[in-house]
């Protein structure tokens, strides 16, 4: 009886070691990582689209939000947005006030006098087109995917409107379309960028605060901008690896 127990323990340890080692090896193998991660950075991709947003240049006019609604048939109600503008106001007492009246559609207003304000700035928000996008990861039917150019898109015929992606997006960039009842989001104006145009929000921006471009093209305006400025991404701790970067992003932004 005692001998048998000893044999069992040895077997147990041996099997355990085999199992752990096997799992370790399997986790490093490529076909398995495809199962674990829904999105993968395609290193051989011809284009790898992204956008830079220059906070120093944004004047909060809201033309981007307005143009996006027209360009992409976003519902009119002021709580459906693919892109919107937030106004940050830091008061002298340190309190932080974030306003986005109608998503900045009709411009911005300031309730505080310059004497009360420590600093104030605008932050245009949009889909960050993450390299590790949580929305793609959580979709139970595979309706959200990343195009070969790195643009997070929705297959409208696959989406079942379960709202999981709306919950998963750390940047609040998704909504359920009230008519079609499926998930809708910024496509980086996929129909425009594949046709040699810039996204609608950039087209109408009066101060050139948005710069669309190809991250794989070192001569593109975007890469040159990234080269010359101290840029930041939103919520780096989420490990989403966004392709939308901000210049002069203040620490107060969340």
């Amino acid at each position: 009886m005692e001998l048998k127990n000893k044999k069992n323990r040895r077997d147990f340890l041996k099997n355990g070691a085999l199992l752990t080692g096997g799992m370790l090896i399997a986790s490093g193998m490529k076909p398995f990582s495809a199962l674990v991660y829904a999105t993968n950075h395609n290193e051989d991709a011809e284009h790898w689209y992204g956008m830079a947003i220059d906070i120093e240049k944004c004047i909060g006019c809201g033309n981007c939000a307005k143009a996006c609604k027209i360009e992409n048939d976003v519902p009119e109600e002021p709580f459906f947005f693919r892109t919107w503008v937030e106004q940050y106001t830091i008061l002298n007492d340190g309190s932080k006030i974030i306003t986005s009246e109608n998503g900045g559609l009709n411009g911005a207003s300031q309730d505080y006098t310059p004497d009360e304000i420590f600093k104030s700035f605008f932050v245009p928000k949009m889909c960050n087109h993450c390299t590790n996008s949580p929305c793609t990861q959580v979709c139970p039917v595979g309706a959200t995917f990343e195009s070969p150019e790195g643009v997070a898109l929705v297959d409208s015929t696959y989406c079942i409107g379960c709202r999981y992606c709306v919950q998963a997006c750390p940047y609040g960039c998704r909504y359920i379309h009230p008519k079609t009842k499926i998930a809708d989001k910024c496509t980086l104006c996929y129909h425009r960028i594949t046709n040699g145009q810039v996204p609608a929000c950039q087209e109408v921006c009066p101060t050139n605060a948005k710069i669309f471009g190809d991250l794989n093209d070192r001569s593109s305006e975007l890469v040159q901008f990234i080269k010359k400025h101290d840029w930041q991404i939103l919520k780096p701790h989420m490990n989403t690896k966004p392709k939308v970067v901000y210049n002069a992003l203040s620490g107060e932004v969340n």
Partner: protein, 147 residues
């Protein structure tokens, strides 16, 4: 092999074949073309018609206004920023779907004083005390504001 096991194996074989056939029928042709999604979804996203046509197209007809505009502060601003999308106008120019914005409030969306706006980047006025009774366009030509 016992009879009941053989039956079970046969049943499994039939079910698995059935599953493979049904799966083949259900999966769209373009699935997996580029990745784990329907390849045609890319084309469907591309098919959307662009509303904003770009300043170059405006300049083909409105070159006089363009010359005026490019010589002044508003040179870099797209026509469609103020006048709205031109996709219908370029098809049927007479329909006049574009807007000519009026009023102090409209200019104020960019030019009203706001501490969040960079003072060196954009000229700002206090709408509540800068020539209150006057429309902006009476003094400033919107295409050439300092002209």
């Amino acid at each position: 092999m016992p009879k009941h096991i053989r039956r079970l194996l046969l049943l499994f074989a039939v079910l698995i074949t059935l599953f493979i056939i049904v799966r083949q029928v259900l999966i769209p042709d373009s699935f997996g073309q580029f990745g784990h999604y329907r390849g045609l979804a890319l084309e469907e996203n591309k098919a959307h018609v662009a509303r904003y046509v770009g300043t170059d197209i405006c300049a083909e007809c409105h070159w006089e206004t363009m010359e005026l505009k490019t010589a002044d502060m508003h040179a870099e601003i797209s026509c469609e920023t103020c006048h709205g999308p031109g996709w219908k106008h370029i098809e049927e120019p007479e329909q006049g779907q574009l807007t000519i914005p009026e009023g102090r409030e409209f200019c104020g969306t960019c030019h009203s004083r706001n501490p969040a706006r960079s003072a060196s980047l954009i000229a700002q006025v206090n709408l509540s005390d800068h020539n209150i009774e006057t429309n902006c366009s009476e003094c400033h030509n919107p295409h050439a504001p300092w002209n």
